[in-house]
Symmetry: C2
Subunit: 326 residues, 2 copies
Amino acid sequence: MNRTLLAILKILAKENKIIGSKEIAKKLKMYGVNLSERTVRYHLKILDERGLTKVFGKEGRIITEKGRQELESASTVEKVGFIINKIETLSYLSDFDIDSCKGKIIVNLSYIPKNKLKKAFQAMEYVFNSPFVMSNKILFIEEDNNNIVVPDNHVCLGTVCSVALNAILLKHGIPVISRFGGVLEIRDGQPYRFNALISYDGTSLDPLEIFIRGKMTDVSGAIKNGYGRVLASFREIPTVCLEKVKEIYSEMQKKGFQGILMFGQPNQPLLDIPVGIDRIGIIVVGGLNPVAAIEETGIKTYTSAISTLYDYQAMVDFKEISDNLK
Amino acid sequence: MNRTLLAILKILAKENKIIGSKEIAKKLKMYGVNLSERTVRYHLKILDERGLTKVFGKEGRIITEKGRQELESASTVEKVGFIINKIETLSYLSDFDIDSCKGKIIVNLSYIPKNKLKKAFQAMEYVFNSPFVMSNKILFIEEDNNNIVVPDNHVCLGTVCSVALNAILLKHGIPVISRFGGVLEIRDGQPYRFNALISYDGTSLDPLEIFIRGKMTDVSGAIKNGYGRVLASFREIPTVCLEKVKEIYSEMQKKGFQGILMFGQPNQPLLDIPVGIDRIGIIVVGGLNPVAAIEETGIKTYTSAISTLYDYQAMVDFKEISDNLK
């Protein structure tokens, strides 16, 4: 029984009445599961076949007694997922092709209250004109669609996740080792040192979400006067891949991507962080810096980092949406 | 140049005027450095000798030009400290003896606003009567002393840190491996599963502080109706030590300590978390559960987990202070 099926069963057990797939999809967000209504229906059919749920009327479902028993026994063995697995899974599943700029890319999803939208976009404007963002493309989703459910009175903002870089390099046969999410101190506009680090393979919470929640960033200061703290991550590549990585990155830059702030030297620590043997450290900006800037103004967002795969062609220029809101 | 010397230099550079050791000690807290005025004076003398600071009048110091240069170059190599090092260092340095109940024990320090003190103690009362606390002894410090500086309008609360268990076992030659800090879901009063985990060797922020800040606990629910979420940690001991650990733990219980919620089986996962070969998992309560309970009522505290070593004999019964406040 996978996490999604369990989450759906949990919702049905909690509601204890007939509910439809659309409502289930909305409630799933509370469990950190992002699914389209269509995918929810697919999972509901599996549950029906196993006798754990029962159809009532048009699309409505209710949990069966067998479903309740399954829920009780199954959830004891439900595992805590570690972030590194999410990174590796989505990197593998992404089919974004840098040459054609087509395919599904990894995005972070944030939900912004509608009545704070103008202020939020003002706060992000300078971030999208800075080096501390992966791309100036965003997803701007106002109503539910096949892939994303948007909670009432909110708008969904998608930003290109920095793990998209891993996915692009992986498609070229280059393995990127994601080590730490961190808060990077900026002085004189340059990376100076990490103030905080959390290892991706040792946490079930996304490090960048932790730093945003803990109010540890000062993206605004970093951009406006060159002194501040931005979200960044520390990764490693095999030394043998360096030239190829630079070549692909230069191609990425032509297509409007950026994000690598520093390359280290083979076997040499980068900003005091040691690397593995025959590896080179790289420092990559966090895709959530625009969202950190929103939170710095006191607006609360609900954010899910390294969230999902989304069609890159559906993304639009930040400026386009921003100008419309003015 | 160690972190303390650097922090003192930073304060002097920022103030840019003559300041005394008492004021420096207070400001050091902002850098997470807990030192007595006396220890600050000791460090200032080192800085004087190196020509980095200069004495002005009675106890006042100012930073020299050489001090500024040193600060600039030294802080680039200042390292981010990982929590596991703090755990191992304090476990080794603690000289608390369980038989005589004398010596320095590891404590967490929290600062509570004076005007919220009564409410805070009410919130903690049921925690100190529950299994989710290491000991019913606390430090209650209202004014600066040789070891602790108390910020204005605050009171310092010290709770026995769960790492004290590591220290006691280490004195008996038993190595404890601290793996994860976590949020432990309680059902029917029993540990059910971990909701979140962060590895101690992969984070520069204390996991339990992160969970408190992120409002992920429900200590109140866990105690009042048996369903909730408490702070806990996952550790491992070598299988060969099990009997000895149980023997020492039983001695600890006689002296008023508690905190081990579960012992696993050799080589067997405990609450789904796999252990190393020939090791046994144990689940230990977080020493900060009383502080989590305070935060759950909406009172903001400033907390430093696994903070410092303090004379156990200076600790008093929670009830004694609590009764006085009623």
